[in-house]
């Protein structure tokens, strides 16, 4: 199973869990699984069919460019971080 690293500010929704084992072949399925277990999480991460603009999600250290269709493999580490606007080429989008 993949593991989702939950930032402190989402932990009130996850019963203070900071690392959650989750099944799912894509990021969308992982988030749906999180929502089933911790209602309210999805709304903090997803807007419509996209990752919310103020959120970035990294898989194994790399910011995902594919969005919710990003494939997730066994043992992947999924990290939720605040989006980093500006700064050009730093993560998530952009010297």
């Amino acid at each position: 199973m993949a593991v989702v690293v939950v930032p402190p500010l989402l932990r009130p929704l996850t019963g203070d869990a900071d690392r959650i084992q989750v099944e799912g072949a894509t990021l969308r399925r992982v988030i749906n699984e999180l929502e089933a277990r911790y209602p309210g999480v999805k709304a903090r991460l997803v807007e419509g069919n996209k990752i919310r603009p103020e959120i970035s999600i990294a898989v194994n250290g790399g910011i995902v460019a594919a969005g919710l269709v990003e494939p997730i493999a066994e043992n992947d580490e999924i990290v939720i971080i605040p989006a980093i606007s500006g700064g050009g080429a730093g993560p998530p989008r952009a010297g």
Partner: protein, 751 residues
């Protein structure tokens, strides 16, 4: 020098002549300002003389009546003022209701020549209501500060929004462990405040753009940019055009360092072209570049670190405010992720603030956000080493992040090379040498930066003579044509010289993300590898056809030889790459290998630098006596270019540390907007910068590549801070550590 002996690679790790080198050496390479088109008009941009002013009205009738003027555009010519992302926002390209910094573009003119266009600017009447301005990041955060955008509310870490107008656009917090308990467990706690000033990337080629809007509403753009597709998408968004109607042509780029991710001129040039029916070229002066593009943030920083008597870090805390400039979007986010990234500490708390104020909107600058935040952290670590009587490299080694360490933002490291960099520094001839003499000192520091993958497209055609044109969409700033060609050649088992890399326009290759984020050698390498593997598969099929055997009986070796089953006489059958390429016309025609990749398997980079200085007590000038940059490149595809990136990054970091700063008058005007007064280091200011390439391969890349281009700008400032302290006993906590600031600390008071 490279620390490890080369592997079995035949092309990777060698130093072929760059494919685009001759054109650049003899001056044939075409840059944006070289573009000349039939009937082309020249343009000029009117800029705000005020740091903060409401625009009451713009009357361009006198300019439009000038016989040499062909058109004037303002923000009213944009179909929409909606923000289209970080590459360009219409109200920064042409100010709408407010001018938010001196130099903010207000209108643009197209005329028969440059002089006429510039003269016509005086004929545009702009009525301003001058407003109070704010230029210091701490002042801008205060209640009662002049507010740039009355609608702005702070985005808080919990996803909520503040309830009052503010200049603080965003507050990010990263938290790990229990920082209070960590400080309580420490035997020694050091907390210090630091400041940095706005600094510019200093690329030699000013921004330029040429646009032609055809009668059938097709727009073609030639511009100096780090992202052909980024400009295409931003211009299409600002002009309300479908993406298919905008094509961006590649031209060479004379430096970018992140500052040529934003685009300032293409949309106005296109609007002027639509009005005139002619191509229009806009080119910035150096003053425009410094005052009206995107430098990096000035910052105010507070860092606190606790340690046990044995040197173990028990807690690390940072509070950091970054100037965003006129609109939200400083590199604060990356700065917060980087601040303690080289170290493994259980308890961390990091707060960052993105703050608008009346300076140009900041842009990326080489490891954006990291030089400031890591400068503060590394300086505190140097003080800890002194207080604990520890060698500064040893203390860093004791606390270094290694595989499995988790940063405060949640990332867990794979194999990384910080310890290897520290060890290489410890073993280096430089660190092993003695330094003596009055006013001389030595300093060391480490640095961290990410690299990213993202979308990259490539196609390679195999010609009948065995040569391979390779088309790509990533702008080549630092030798990426060569590194892509080398990785394709390595995979195919052919010579780098047999590959001809081309950067092509946005209609001629698949979407490719911009050149930045230390991504291009990494992501191009992935694409080149997959392109080559596609070619290998197709060549195996052709060979199977020729030998009339099963595809499974054919194998393409890494030596570039295609081997099949023995023939009827029992003799071995094989083709070299060139031999098989020669058979293509008779077996179905040429083949094209293609790849569209978007990789997340990034390779974080670490660096450690050593510097010796001598400080002149009379003038405060810091002379660099010796400098060594050590860096984990993963695998150095072309070691000369890796060394060049290390030297270039170190040079820029030295400039930021010792001299470069925006100096403002009381009205918010930059008073040193020329390269005489904005003092970047030249070749005469620096000795040869020595390099040591460490190679800890990135397991997430076929050739082990990590990001290389950005991290070397991070260690210079804290290394110089430590060296200056070692030389004169003064801790300089404000950048740049200029002669003026040093003399303020060292000269006796007159009274």
């Amino acid at each position: 020098m490279v620390t490890t002996e080369k592997s079995a690679y035949k092309v990777v790790g060698t130093r072929p002549i760059r494919h685009d080198g001759v054109d650049k050496v003899i001056g044939r390479a075409e840059y944006g300002a070289d573009v000349r088109l039939p009937g082309m008009l020249q343009g000029a941009v009117l800029r705000s003389p005020h740091a903060h002013a409401r625009i009451i009205g713009i009357d361009s009738s006198r300019a439009e009546a000038h016989p040499g003027v062909r058109a004037v555009v303002t923000s009213a010519d944009f179909p929409s003022l909606d923000d289209v992302g970080e590459v360009a926002r219409p109200d920064n390209v042409l100010a709408h209701d407010k001018a938010l910094y001196v130099g903010h573009a207000v209108a643009a003119v197209a005329a028969v020549d440059q002089h006429t266009a510039e003269d016509a600017l005086d004929l545009i009447d702009v009525q301003y209501e001058v407003l109070p301005h704010v230029m210091d990041v701490r002042d801008a955060m205060l209640d009662g500060a002049p507010i740039l955008d009355e609608k702005l509310r702070t985005a808080e870490p919990d996803g909520s929004k503040g309830d009052k107008a503010t200049n603080v656009a965003q507050h990010i917090r990263y938290e790990k462990g229990d920082v209070e308990a960590g400080f309580a467990a420490a035997d020694l706690v050091i907390e210090r405040e630091y400041g940095t000033t706005m600094a510019h990337q200093g690329y030699i080629e000013p921004h330029n753009s040429t646009a032609y809007w055809s009668k059938d509403d097709e727009v073609t753009i030639w511009t100096s940019t780090q992202g052909l597709f980024a400009v295409r998408d931003a211009v299409a968004g600002m002009l309300g055009l479908p993406v298919k109607s905008v094509k961006v042509q590649p031209v060479e780029i004379g430096g970018g360092f992140g500052g040529k991710i934003p685009d300032y001129l293409s949309a106005p040039a296109a609007l002027l072209s639509r009005k005139t029916g002619k191509p229009v070229q806009l080119t910035m002066s150096r003053k425009d570049v410094l005052e009206a593009t995107g430098p990096t943030s000035g910052t105010h920083l507070r860092v606190k670190i606790g340690a046990k008597r044995d040197g173990t870090f028990t807690a690390m805390q940072a509070w950091m405010a970054y100037e965003a400039g006129a609109y939200p979007g400083s590199p604060m986010g990356a700065g917060t992720m980087c601040v303690f990234a080289p170290y493994d500490c259980e308890n961390q708390l990091i707060d960052g603030y993105d703050v608008t104020l009346n300076k140009p909107k900041t842009a990326a600058y080489r490891a954006p956000g990291a030089p400031a935040s890591e400068y503060a952290a590394e300086c505190v670590i140097d003080e800890l080493a002194e207080a604990l009587d520890r060698d500064p490299l040893e203390l860093r080694m004791q606390n270094s992040a290694t595989e499995g360490a988790q940063r405060a933002d949640g990332f867990t490291y794979g194999p990384i090379g910080h310890e290897e960099c520290l060890q290489a520094a410890q073993d280096s001839p430089h660190y092993q040498s003695e330094l003596s003499g009055a006013n001389r000192g030595r300093g060391v520091a480490s640095g961290f930066w990410f690299n990213i993958g993202f979308e990259t497209s490539m196609a390679a055609q195999v010609q009948a003579d065995g040569t391979v044109p390779l088309v790509m969409g990533a702008v080549d700033i630092g030798g990426s044509r060569a590194s892509a060609a080398m990785q394709l050649a390595e995979t195919l088992g052919i010579a780098a010289e047999d590959v001809k890399p081309h950067i092509v326009d946005t209609d001629s290759v698949g979407f490719t993300f911009l050149t930045g984020g230390s991504r291009t050698a990494f992501a191009n390498g992935w694409a080149a590898y997959e392109c080559a593997m596609d070619i290998r598969r197709q060549l195996e099929e052709r060979a199977a056809t020729i030998w009339d055997c099963d595809r499974e009986d054919v194998s393409y070796g890494d030596d570039g030889v295609v081997r099949g089953p023995n023939d009827e006489d029992g003799a071995a059958q094989q083709f070299s790459f060139k031999e098989l390429a020669g058979e293509l016309p008779n077996t179905g025609g040429g083949i094209v290998g293609r790849a569209d990749v978007s990789k997340t398997s990034h390779g974080p980079a670490f660096a450690t630098h050593i510097v010796d200085v001598e400080v002149d007590p009379e003038t405060g000038k810091v002379e660099i006596l010796r400098y060594t940059a050590i860096q984990d490149a993963g695998t150095a595809i072309h070691p000369s270019y890796v060394e060049g990136q290390m030297q270039g990054g170190a040079s820029q970091g030295i400039g930021m540390a010792l001299n470069e700063e925006y100096i403002w008058d009381e009205k918010g005007r930059m008073v040193n907007s020329s390269l005489l007064d904005y003092r970047m280091p030249t070749a005469l200011d620096l000795p040869m910068l020595d390099t040591i390439i460490v190679e800890v391969p990135n397991p997430g890349h076929p050739y082990g590549v990590r990001g290389v281009g950005e991290v070397p700008i991070v260690p210079p400032a804290p290394a110089l801070h430590a060296a200056i302290y070692d030389a004169i006993g003064e801790r300089m906590r404000m950048l740049p550590m200029s002669p003026t600031r040093i003399l303020e600390r060292t000269l006796p008071d007159d009274d």
